[in-house]
Structures are given as C-alpha cells and as structure tokens.
C-alpha cells in the first residue's frame, strides 16, 4: 500500500497530464455545449495540477482561480444565454472533420517519429531538477510567489504594464461589442 502511494506521488505529473488530455478529448467530443464546458473545466483543473507537480505553486493556484473561477463561469453564462433554443440541433462536427482529424493525427505521428530518439531513447536527458547554481538569489523552490513577483515586477515590468493596457482595451471593447443597439 505504501509502495503504491509512493508510486502515485512520483508520477503525479503524468497522472495529471493524462487526465488533462482526457478532459480535452471530452471537450472536443461532447455533443452539447454544457458537456464541453465541463470537459474544459476538468482539463483546466488538471493542468493546474500539472503546474503544482512542476513546483509552480503560485501559477497553479492562479490557474484554478482564473480558469475555474472566472473563465468557466463566463463560458457557462454565455452558453446559458445562447444555447437555450434547440432549433439548431443539426450536425455538431464540420464536414471536413475526417480530413482534419487525419491531418492532426499525421502531424502527431510525424512529430513523435522525428523526435522519437530524443524523447524515448536512452539518451534522453536527466530528470527535471532545479539547478541551484542557476537559481541563486531566487529561491524558486521555497518561495515561489516571491520569486515570480520579482520576475514580474523587476525584469518584466514593461510587458506587465502593456498587459494592463490590453486588459483595459479588452474591457472597453467587450462592453462596446456586447451592448444593445439602443442605449
């Protein structure tokens, strides 16, 4: 039993990653939009788990807050507004679905074939561990939020400010786009 738990603890990233893939497949395969949103929520929560397994704690929690708390709720609101009428039952998938799936599967096979040796071969590089000499001064492993804030507000202050302007423009744009004709 303890051995089992230890195995799970060591393979946390793989478990979360495979569950995220399952959620993504549910999302693109579901017939109704509500089920797609639920699959999206499942995928986002598992990606947050992947972030936590990669020891990006702040980003994992931010992922849960932003996606599960904000974006999924927005999507659910719009589904509720838009998908109430059932008159557009129709076909769910595009006409070119078969070719699109074939093309994407071909791309995946090509990628895995080209990088097969690098990914699965014996020469694949060492495990992803923090190299302490590179993280000097930024104690990434122990105080993740502090380290991220130093990166965000010291090294990347200009992109951060640009992002705030983008958010403002998006806010105004969304209001303008979604408001009714007569004010």
């Amino acid at each position: 039993m303890e051995h089992f738990i230890e195995t799970i603890g060591r393979n946390m990233f793989a478990i979360f990653g495979v569950l995220a893939l399952v959620g993504a497949l549910l999302m693109i395969g579901a017939r109704s939009a509500i089920h797609s949103v639920l699959g999206f929520l499942f995928a986002m929560l598992n990606i947050a788990g992947c972030f936590l397994a990669l020891e990006a704690e702040f980003l994992g929690v931010a992922q849960i807050l932003v996606y599960a708390g904000g974006i999924v709720v927005l999507f659910l609101f719009v589904v509720m507004l838009v998908e109430m009428s059932k008159k557009h039952e129709g076909e769910v998938f595009q006409l070119q679905s078969r070719y699109a799936v074939l093309a994407v599967a071909g791309g995946v096979a090509l990628f895995l074939g080209v990088f097969r040796k690098a990914i699965f071969g014996a020469s694949s590089p060492e495990a992803l561990v923090l190299r302490p000499e590179l993280a000097k001064g930024l104690d990434v492993a122990h105080q993740n939020a502090q380290a991220v804030s130093r990166g965000l507000f010291a090294d990347y202050l200009l992109p951060f400010e640009i992002l705030s302007v983008i958010l403002l423009v998006a806010l105004v744009g969304a209001v303008v786009l979604a408001k009714t004709e007569r004010v």
């Binding site: 797609s36 769910v92 699109a100 990166g151 969304a174 979604a178």
Partner: protein
Amino acid sequence: MVSLNAVLVISFLLFSIGIAGVLIRRNALIILMCVELMLNAANLNFIAFARHSGSVSGQAFALLVMGFAAAEVAVGLALVVALYRRRDTVQVDDINLLKG
C-alpha cells in the same frame, strides 16, 4: 522527478487536441475553448523550461499569458453574444456574409 520530455509530449498533445477541436467543431464557443487550451499548452511549456533552466522568467511570462487569455476570452465571448443577437446563431457555418 518529472522529465522535461514528458512535459513536452503532454503539452504537444494538448496543443494538437486544441487544433483538432478548432478544425472540427461548428460551435463558436467550443472553438474559443480550444484556443484557450492551446494557450495553456504553451503555458505548460513555459513552466517546464523555466524549471529546466532554473530561472523564474518563464513563470512570470506564463502569468502574463494567463492575463492575455482572460482578455481574449472577454472579447471573444462579447463577439459571440453580438453575433447571436444579430444572426441568431453561434454556428460558424451559418456566418457566410462574405461568401460570394
């Protein structure tokens, strides 16, 4: 420990699923969700390489990408709502005003 290759393969597969979803679905809402999924795959790569190189820049940029994704969702959903109001549909196949 997590190997870098495992992260890259998972993120590549997530990105592929996102592309497949954009190509095969008719519902504009689900297409938007697939775009979000692709942005998240890119975030996963950012974090993996930040971990690999021991610097925190990748994590800071992943946070910026997350904010950008939020802005994109706001505008995209506003477009979907405006479209529904005007044409009474969210199926991308029904939007063919520019078709000759």
